[in-house]
Each structure stands twice: as structure tokens, then as C-alpha cells.
Symmetry: C2
Subunit: 294 residues, 2 copies
DNA sequence: CCAGTCCTATAGCGTCTTGCTATGGAACGT
DNA sequence: ACGTTCCATAGCAAGACGCTATAGGACTGG
């Protein structure tokens, strides 16, 4: 039972005869004869009554015609969906991102992408580390990834575009004034307690590096979910290190936010595998690069 | 986009790879490669990401896989429906019948048929005359027909089975005693007024024959719908001629019912075209002949 | 780091299906 | 009785799909 057979079947039903249907389908009439004969044999049911030189839909055929139409409608819907996806009109982009990257720049990219491609849905898969993002892209679990990494990510068939640099900020509980200016030097961190994320994340790497240099920096809490760092800081449990995407939110919440002097920056990268991308994904990449170009 | 391609597509999705799917489908792996490549080209969408020596479903593929499964489910449902119809488990029998035949014996046949084939639906198309019933069968608009006719119906490729004889009865308004016994002779009809159906029906043929023999039989009303004859008789408009199937109902309604002496009988026939019948229709014919055999 | 293994893609070839044209046969209209 | 109008069948060319063999890329174990 192939699609063509059903197509012929409903055409004959609608045209009321083999000959008319053949003309409408632009095939020879014997092709219909054979296709229907085969279908009838396959289904074990007589679809048409051959009466005189005409055919009449049998009761079985009548019952099956509706189902056949349903199948063809679904098939058409699927083809239409595929076309939309192929043209990038609709589709889904799976983006692997670390949670800091997921906030910024991905949120901005999504906002811009939706202006030109309203049908495209962006789904972000959170990864814990840049390495994990890259792994997801390389393994094909996502088509693109966004992550911060000191070096340009490399890998078999991997393409990396440099986005803006992310800046890490110091966030301390409300009222805990650390410096009179807008920036702090690493030395001023001495003796402070921190809420940190688990190892293998960019912020944790920064913390470890600072701790190794400064010494005397204590861990107040280590959390698996980075989104709870700010709430813990706000409760006074300790200070936190956060990407600049969080700064606005932290300030609104009452926390004190300081830049580092010198600034702690981390390049952010857009990565995808070499080769043809899905139309929706290509749109995502194009949008990202167009807006990220400074 | 043929059924086989979709079948392969979902198999690969479910098995997680071409090779496993090929084993499950019992085809060679290259067949899958080519089928999917063709499908992707046809849809203009990459269904799988080829990553390393494996494949991963793309987001487009993910969106289309559900639709493909839907199509295949519908296709299976259709196949199952066809099988049921083919086996006669379910199905519909279109029976052409005159309205008198539709009452009896068709009603009894339906009752018996439903015992052995509960899934079979009988649809009766009412015809005005035996000639019309035969025409509908010959033209294939119905597979079988039931009608009363003095002679065995003949026609190109027509098969006719004799059923029981239908007996016509005289029905008169309540209280209008015609005879002391259960039967009347034609002479007793003299001077009576009748409610009759339109020409070309079996009862009208009987009336016309009697009227020609007896003379002095008046038409009180001629109705197009035979079902209104009994109500009109009950209101005293005139007497009526009815097949025996109506007798019980007429008596319950208070009318007086008499047989004719000699009895007025009309053979009833089951007709269908020569050749293979739909399973459900064959069941209908078998049931009819089995119960009608006296 | 190299060989072995695993998986998909391609090539080459045989068979089955589908397309076509030509023709038969039955049924209808004139 | 004839021609017309259908569907069915026959015969043949082109395409689709089956298979095996093999290439190529990527992981694994020594």
C-alpha cells in the first residue's frame, strides 16, 4: 500500500472514472487499472464494482476512501511542514549554551531573531561547562552552541566565531561596601567568603585562579545550580562572581556590583559543525554574527 | 514521498542508526542510506546530522518524525479496516428494496444477520418499484436488492434467488366489516373506495388488475409515500391493499384485515450481479437464503 | 600511533515496479 | 449495426529498489 496507489484511488473516486482520473493525474489509464487491481488484491477488498463500461465505488471503497484521503492530507501536511522548515520560515534551533551564555547573548539573539523569523523556536540546552557545549555540538545533539572560553574552541570540523567578551563582576550582599569606586582590585577580595558554582564552569575557574593568586578566599557554599548564586548572595551568605549579564538584575535586587580592576574578561564563542546547517539554524547564526559585529 | 521512505525513516529514528534499522527491517543498509538521502532531497531538509560514524536526528527530523508516525498509523488503521471489511467482520451492505420488501423480509434478515455478523451495517435504499430495484443492482449502486415480481427478474449478469411469496391483504377502516370470515372474495370489493399508491408499484398493479376484473372500484386517494396508506385507512378515507408484513401493525392499530380468497401472492426475489460479492454482502445473501429456505 | 572495528556512503548490478503505447472486449448511443 | 466510450490486458522501456562489495571516516585497544 504505497502513497501513489492511494492517490490514484481517491482521484478515481473524485473523477468518477479511470479515464477522467488518468487525464487529471497526467498518467496513462492502464497505469490506474493496474495500480487499483494491485491495491484491491493487497487489501483483499473490491474497491469498485465494475458495471458495464463504468465503475462504481463499492461500500468497502466508500469506507476506505475517507481514510485514504486522511492519509494523503497528513502526507501533504508533512510535506508542507518540511518545506517551511527547509525555508527557515519555521523550525527549531537547538542551542547548547552554558547558563551564563544562555542569559547573554542568547536572550538578545533570540529577541532579534524573532523579528525576522517569527516562526523559529529557539530551544536552549543548558550545559555546565564550555567543554560540554562543544561536546554537544560535536556529537550533533545541538547544531550550534554558545560558550565562553579563553581559547578559540577547536575540534574536528568545528567552526568557532568570536562574539563579544563577557566580563565577570563581583557581587556582594546589600550594604557590604567593598570599595568606594566602581571597581575593585583582586587584593580587596582577601578574607571574603564566596558562593561558588561547581568546578569546570567559567566562573569557578575564575574563582580558583583568583584564590590561587590571592590566597585566603573562603568558599561559603558551592551550588550546582548557578541561578541560586544571586539569591544566596542577597541573603548575605557570601559574595559571588557573575557574568555581566546578571549585573542589572543584581543591582535591582539591591546587591552591590563592582567591576574588577583589571577587568576579568572571557571571550564568548559561537560554535557549530562545518557544513550545511538547517535553515533555521543558519538564520540563528546569521543573526548572531550580524548583531555581534561591532 | 512514499510510504516506504517514511517507514525507513521512523525505523532509523527508533533504532538509533541505519545499521540497526536495516537489521530490524530485514533489508540491506545501503537501501536505507539511499532512501533517506532521496527523502531528504525531496523534502529539502536534513533529517539526520551525520556526526562521526553515527547519525543524530536533526531538529527538523524530530519535528517530522511525529508526522511520519502519524501517517504510518493512519495507513495501518486503513489496512486493518480493509482487512475487517474483507473478512466480513465489519462492512456495509447496500440493499436496494421496495418499501414493502424493506419491511419484510429485509427486517428479519437484518435481525438474523446481526447475530452472526454484529459489525455489519445494512443500509436499505428504498426504491419505488421492482424495476427500480433491479436497475440499482445492475448499475452497481447497490450490491443486492430485494423485490417482489411476478416473474423471475432477468438481466445482464443478474442472479435472482426466490424467497418466500408475499401475500397481499385487504385492510379496511375500524368497524367497516366486509366479511364474516377471515377472507374476502374479489367480488366483495365492489363499490369500495381505495387508498392506493402510485403506478408501477406491486400493490398498485394488484389494484389495477382487480379493478379491471371487478369494475366499480374507486380511488379515494393516490399517495406517493406508501407509509401513509395505513394512516389514511385508519382515518376512514378508504380501504387499502398491503403486503402481509403490515398486517400485524394494521391489526394493532384497530383496522380490519382480511386475506383474499383466492390468496393474492407475489413472489419475492433476492437479486445481485453475477460474480464476486463483498464479504459483508455475501454474508447478507447467505443469511437470507439460509433462513428463507423452507 | 597503528591496526582493527564499526558505521555510513557510494558503486555496480539484477530484479521488480511503473510508465508508456497498442489492442482487446464489453456496453452504450445513434 | 456501427462507432464511441469505457476498462482490462499485453508488451516493452525506464526507473526504483533490492543486493554485494568497497571506500572513507571515526572510535578503540594494544
Amino acid at each position: 500500500m504505497e502513497r501513489r496507489q492511494l492517490e490514484y484511488f481517491v482521484a478515481i473516486v473524485e473523477q468518477g472514472g479511470f479515464t477522467h482520473a488518468a487525464r487529471a493525474l497526467r498518467v496513462a489509464q492502464p497505469s490506474l487499472s493496474r495500480a487499483i487491481t494491485k491495491l484491491e488484491h493487497e487489501l483483499g477488498v473490491e474497491l469498485f464494482h465494475r458495471v458495464g463500461r463504468n465503475v462504481v465505488l463499492s461500500s468497502a471503497g466508500e469506507m476506505l476512501a475517507d481514510r485514504a484521503r486522511l492519509v494523503l492530507r497528513d502526507l501533504d501536511a508533512m510535506r508542507a511542514a518540511a518545506r517551511s522548515i527547509g525555508e527557515g520560515a519555521v523550525g527549531r534551533v537547538d542551542v547548547a549554551a552554558t547558563s551564563s551564555s544562555a542569559l547573554e547573548p542568547v536572550t538578545s539573539i533570540i529577541a532579534e531573531l524573532r523579528e525576522h523569523h517569527p516562526g523559529v523556536v529557539v530551544s536552549t540546552s543548558s550545559a555546565l561547562s564550555a567543554a560540554e557545549v562543544i561536546a554537544m555540538v560535536v556529537q550533533g545533539r545541538c547544531e550550534v552552541g554558545v560558550c565562553g572560553n579563553a581559547e578559540r574552541p577547536t575540534g574536528r570540523g568545528l567552526v568557532a566565531h568570536h562574539l563579544r567578551d563577557e566580563e565577570f563582576l563581583l557581587v556582594v550582599p546589600p550594604g557590604a561596601i567593598v570599595s568606594s569606586g566602581p571597581a575593585v582590585s583582586p587584593d580587596q577580595l582577601r578574607g571574603m567568603r564566596f558562593v561558588v558554582t561547581k568546578p569546570a564552569t567559567a566562573v569557578r575557574a575564575l574563582f580558583d585562579r583568583l584564590a590561587a593568586t590571592i590566597g585566603d578566599m573562603a568558599i561559603a557554599a558551592e551550588v550546582g545550580d548557578r541561578s541560586v548564586v544571586l539569591p544566596m548572595v542577597l541573603k548575605g551568605i557570601g559574595a559571588g562572581l557573575m557574568p555581566d549579564g546578571w549585573a542589572d538584575l543584581a543591582r535591582r535586587a539591591g546587591a552591590e556590583v563592582y567591576r574588577f580592576d583589571p577587568a576579568e574578561r572571557l571571550p564568548q564563542w559561537l560554535v557549530h559543525r562545518r557544513g550545511q546547517l538547517t535553515a533555521a539554524t543558519q538564520a540563528f547564526v546569521d543573526t548572531t554574527l550580524a548583531s555581534g559585529r561591532d
